[in-house]
Symmetry: C2
Subunit: 229 residues, 2 copies
């Protein structure tokens, strides 16, 4: 029997690495896709390459897109990444690190790749529990994208192939994600979550993403393999 | 009173030029956006620049994206553009010139730009009457994209700004589109619709798009300003 193919959005972070491992575990042939989008933290692309290789992705593709043309985020423009925000603040509002329409754009490219590769499944590691308050990480967004995608392509709208957007981390805590990935052999030392890492790939330890990650390892009772600056 | 801002997807073709003129006529400040997406017919980008200038767009931006990485279309890959297809065939099925998920990707970038520019309106010149059978040109696709977009961004999902995708050509014939544009001062001699033009910008006269365009001018009783090879 031929394996079904899935497209996996891979950032080099902890969540998408876990997602890739889950898709592999479910028996999919895995096509990982990452984006060079003008992010400050380009070391995450190096991490995505390490992760794709270590987890045995069948292919890994990096696509260039220029979101900097639009500015508007601390992740792509010359705005400082906030550090050491108190936990209460992490849970309120959309932070300055929000990149306009990022997941919509990433999923759109994944949709194109899925159609060309005869894939009916896309995996995205978004999470609505221990997350950073981004609107495009919520279940209602994922459901609406899936509905749109099923009307958008020849594969779905004409040939009747149902496309599914999998967001298997949606309702897991960061600790649950880490436990799941460890069972599937994910080496989190290869991943990087920091919004403001050093050029050598060390994490700052103080941005929102580092804080969530640290807490995840602590809650899971797992040693944190992250290299902090 | 400050003008409301709209983002206009501008291809350099007849339809999107008309769309831009309609948005201007409705009083919007117009931000036109075009894409260099590995299309064979790069002369369309030159046309988009002429059109944006002639119609007085407040800004025009060309964004680089690489859809060639995915292959899969006669518009981006090394596949011949079909010529002189009989009219009955034009109306059946999705042609080889279909680019996977193209309008989804274009609208996603427009959505990012809209959010950054505080725009609540996006114009796209898709058409379900005299069209080429692309699934992402249908009203149900546009409605689904709009629903998704309203859940995707901080502007809509958090700040409550309703985003509208305008597709004012959806139910017009090509002849109606031409009549509408002429009333609004569109110089169709600046536009190019051909899928396979010469490097000098002459149209082939035989691809699906040229055939639809020729018929539109004939039906409208308007002289066709197109330079054919």
């Amino acid at each position: 029997m031929t394996k079904k193919t899935a497209v996996i959005l891979l950032s080099g972070g902890l969540d998408s690495a876990t997602c890739l491992a889950m898709a592999r575990d479910q028996g999919f042939r895995t096509l990982a896709i990452s984006f060079r989008y003008g992010q400050r933290h380009a070391v995450e692309l190096a991490a995505s390459q390490r992760v794709a290789k270590a987890l045995g992705a069948d292919r890994h593709q990096i696509v260039d897109i220029d979101l900097r043309a639009f500015g508007g985020s601390a992740l792509t423009a010359d705005i400082d990444v906030p550090k050491d925000r108190p936990e209460a603040e992490l849970e309120s509002g959309v932070p300055i690190t929000y990149v306009p329409a990022r997941n919509t754009i990433f999923l759109s490219f994944a949709l194109a790749l899925a159609e060309v590769e005869d894939a009916a499944d896309i995996f995205i590691g978004v999470n609505a529990v221990d997350y950073s308050g981004y609107p495009d990480c919520r279940p209602e967004f994922v459901a609406a994208f899936e509905a749109m995608a099923n009307l958008a392509t020849k594969a779905s709208a004409v040939d009747g192939r149902k496309l599914t957007i999998h967001a298997p981390l949606m309702h897991l805590t960061k600790a649950d994600i880490i436990r799941t990935g460890r069972k599937l052999g994910v080496d989190y030392g290869l991943t990087i979550s920091c919004y403001d890492p050093t050029p050598a790939g060390e994490s700052c330890g103080h941005c929102d993403s580092c804080q969530l990650r640290k807490k995840g390892f602590a809650d899971a009772g797992v040693p944190d393999p992250t290299r902090y600056a």
